[in-house]
């Protein structure tokens, strides 16, 4: 499998990608900044949001039980899916029973985790993504590259090319025409689909409310037109009360897009009632674990507080340059670097935690105050414990530890290095170093050791 370093190197060579990613993250950073500055008590809102999430995850079993009971009382079905396979099987069963041929989907990152679309296709069921960005990446056969702007890595020429293939004729590249094309094409699909599959931004335990936060209206289409609705929910999305929902909505849209509220925030309580002309006849809530429970009771439990706003992605100096695909799976940026190794295999994915300068910008903007950069350090430690640190890395630190643990050894080592470095110093900088330090030099400068250390100078000054 490709390493992250290889994916990053590829991304850095793609100038168009770099421009697209920068434009998106830069714009979203500004929007968030403006929205947050307009609020007097932003820190108080963050703290309350943090407390709500911390309390909820610490009592996850209680709130999920309450949620399930309420949703069933409203006439919905609830299924607890421990694994990706369980979730896929359940959805396939529902689809089979209702003879579903076409599915319309609104954004669901959980569905990406479990690779639902591929499984549906294998059973002859066409799933069409209806969020415009998701529609674009689906046409391109790619994964989303950002939590809320899935196609941000594409420019309008690439999008026009994709749409033109569907249209069967070349389309102009202006946003209005392209959007109009998507609206017309997807409108037909909405009206004909047998089943709607949605994600879930929040699920309120006390009331059985399923909450969708969207801007386009596709979430409303998907929960209104088809006769069957399936909602996939990461189990950590539960929220205790409606008032808690309000507190989290307060910080979500501002952190994500800089809005006070998204265009459509939809609260669903079970399927349609008798006498209502539209809405699904049957509603299924699939509560998905898929590795999340691994984080419970560990130092990484706070990662489950995430409300998927993407603020951390937009401020991350790594993400800003390479975008989400470099992370190799569904989730990118700081949150992706934390949860991917934990949801999957840390031995294979632990390297994601290395893609960080630990600047802490992610922690500073997180609306629920997840200490992301601390969790990244924790992951590096966990990785090392699984024997994942490269051998030369461990050798180098071994040498460092021996030098540092004895003052005289340190002095002698230092003097030796001062002599040895001389042929390689030029203009106060090292021009060569042995591996693994040479990797540093590939992209950065390394100042040379001073010809005389402070102690050496002091001793000389004081006359020995």
């Amino acid at each position: 499998m490709e390493t992250m370093v290889q994916r990053v190197q590829r991304a850095l060579q793609d100038a168009a990608l770099g421009r697209a990613v920068w434009r998106t993250t830069d714009g979203m950073r500004s929007n968030r900044r403006r929205a947050v500055d307009a609020v007097d008590d932003w820190e108080a809102k963050r703290e309350r949001a943090r407390q709500i999430r911390a309390h909820t995850i610490a009592h996850l079993d209680y709130y999920l039980a309450q949620l399930a009971q309420r949703v069933r009382a409203l006439g919905g079905h609830v299924y607890f899916a421990e694994t990706a396979g369980d979730a896929v099987q359940y959805v396939l069963e529902v689809a089979r029973r209702h003879r579903v041929r076409t599915v319309v989907k609104s954004k669901s990152m959980v569905s990406e985790e479990i690779e639902l679309n591929a499984h549906l296709a294998a059973h002859g069921i066409t799933a069409v993504e209806t969020d415009l960005g998701e529609y674009i990446v689906q046409l391109a056969g790619e994964r989303p590259s950002h939590l809320i702007a899935p196609a941000m890595h594409k420019d309008r020429q690439q999008i026009a090319a994709l749409f033109s293939q569907v249209a069967g004729e070349p389309l102009p590249t202006d946003a209005a025409t392209l959007n109009g094309f998507a609206r017309r094409t997807l409108r037909r699909t909405f009206l004909e689909a047998d089943m709607g599959i949605t994600g879930c931004n929040f699920a309120v335990a006390e009331t059985g409310t399923l909450v969708l936060v969207t801007n386009e209206g596709n979430g409303r289409m998907v929960t209104t037109l088809p006769r069957v609705q399936v909602t996939l929910m990461g189990m950590e999305r539960v929220v205790p009360t409606l008032d808690d929902l309000d507190a989290l909505l307060d910080v979500l849209a501002r952190s994500a897009t800089g809005q006070k509220m998204s265009s459509y925030t939809t609260l669903t309580h079970g399927p349609r009632r008798p006498g209502e002309p539209d809405g699904p006849e049957e509603l299924h809530l699939v509560i998905v674990d898929n590795g999340r429970s691994q984080m419970l009771g560990t130092e990484f439990q706070e990662a489950l507080h995430c409300i998927r706003c993407s603020a951390c992605q937009n401020v991350c100096p790594v993400f800003q340059h390479v975008g989400g695909h470099a992370y190799g799976w569904v989730y990118g940026g700081p949150i992706g670097a934390v949860i991917t190794p934990l949801l999957r295999d840390i031995r294979q994915w632990g390297e994601l935690a290395d893609a960080s300068s630990l600047c802490g910008a992610c922690t500073a903007v997180c609306p629920v105050k997840i200490p992301l950069h601390d969790l990244l350090i924790g992951l590096r430690r966990e990785s090392e414990r699984h024997g994942q640190a490269p051998r030369r890395f461990r050798q180098a630190f071994g040498v460092w530890r021996r030098l540092m643990s004895d003052a005289r050894r340190w002095e002698r080592g230092l003097k030796l290095l001062q002599i040895m470095q001389r042929p390689f110093v030029h203009g106060g900088r090292l021009r060569w170093a042995p591996p693994p330090i040479d990797q540093w030099l590939a992209h950065r400068e390394l100042p040379a050791l001073a010809p005389q250390s402070f102690r050496q100078w002091w001793r000389a000054e004081r006359g020995g």
Binding site: S263, P277, S293
Partner: protein, 273 residues
Amino acid sequence: MAGAEAAVAGTTMAHSGMTTDAHEERFLARLRAKLVTSPRPPHPGPRPPAGRAEGGPAGGGVAGVPTAEAPDPQPLVERFARELAVVGGRAEYCATPEDLASRLAAACREAGVNTVVLEADPRWALPGMLPWRQAVEEAVERIDCELIVPGDRGPHREAAAQAGAGLTIADFAVADTGTVGLWTGPGRARVTSLLPPVHLVLLPLAALVATRAEALRRLAVKAEQEGWPSQVMFITGPSRTGDIEGELTVGVHGPGQVLVFIVPAAGGAHAGR
């Protein structure tokens, strides 16, 4: 709980031979076991109610007419209109039915609307709403536009899919965010505010509150009395996307225009607490 499960037998899933209850219990027990050593921070508790006066001019006197009990609605209306404008919608205050008729006619003419679809909202039948209903019919007639009431011409979906505009009476509205709120009920069709390219809203003044928190409280009160509506929609301006190079485009799947007409009516709005 077991009774409810049996009642929907044939549609609940069994997992590897276990009943649904046992399967759920195993799932939750696994979580409980992992959380056993975790600290258990308490819930932060209820938020203190906002300092300034919340809610709309509920109760006391004729709706829309300031009285000793009902505070002046003007600041709330102005705030709502301002916030809605920020997100690309438009709100106008119509003091009389004639005012509504002319403003609505002008808006439909400007938007090039040929057909307006209503939903079979029981509130249209309220005596207090009759003058406003007549104003809507008057407006539509003035510009030679067609008014479709569901039942006239087939199911809601087809009517809404072909209409130039959908007209709904707001169930609530939030001044802080410029949000219009709708919920479902008998005769109420979600597609009315979703499929047509223009969404026209009749907002009774009594339905306007200051904050989203207040709106959610009113919703909870209604749910207590009448049960939960299958869907509650918070609509804040037109449909939008920035998915193509971050360029904002309006009217992607939902309506591209949201035009709100605020009228001094109770509209059957819940007073709330």
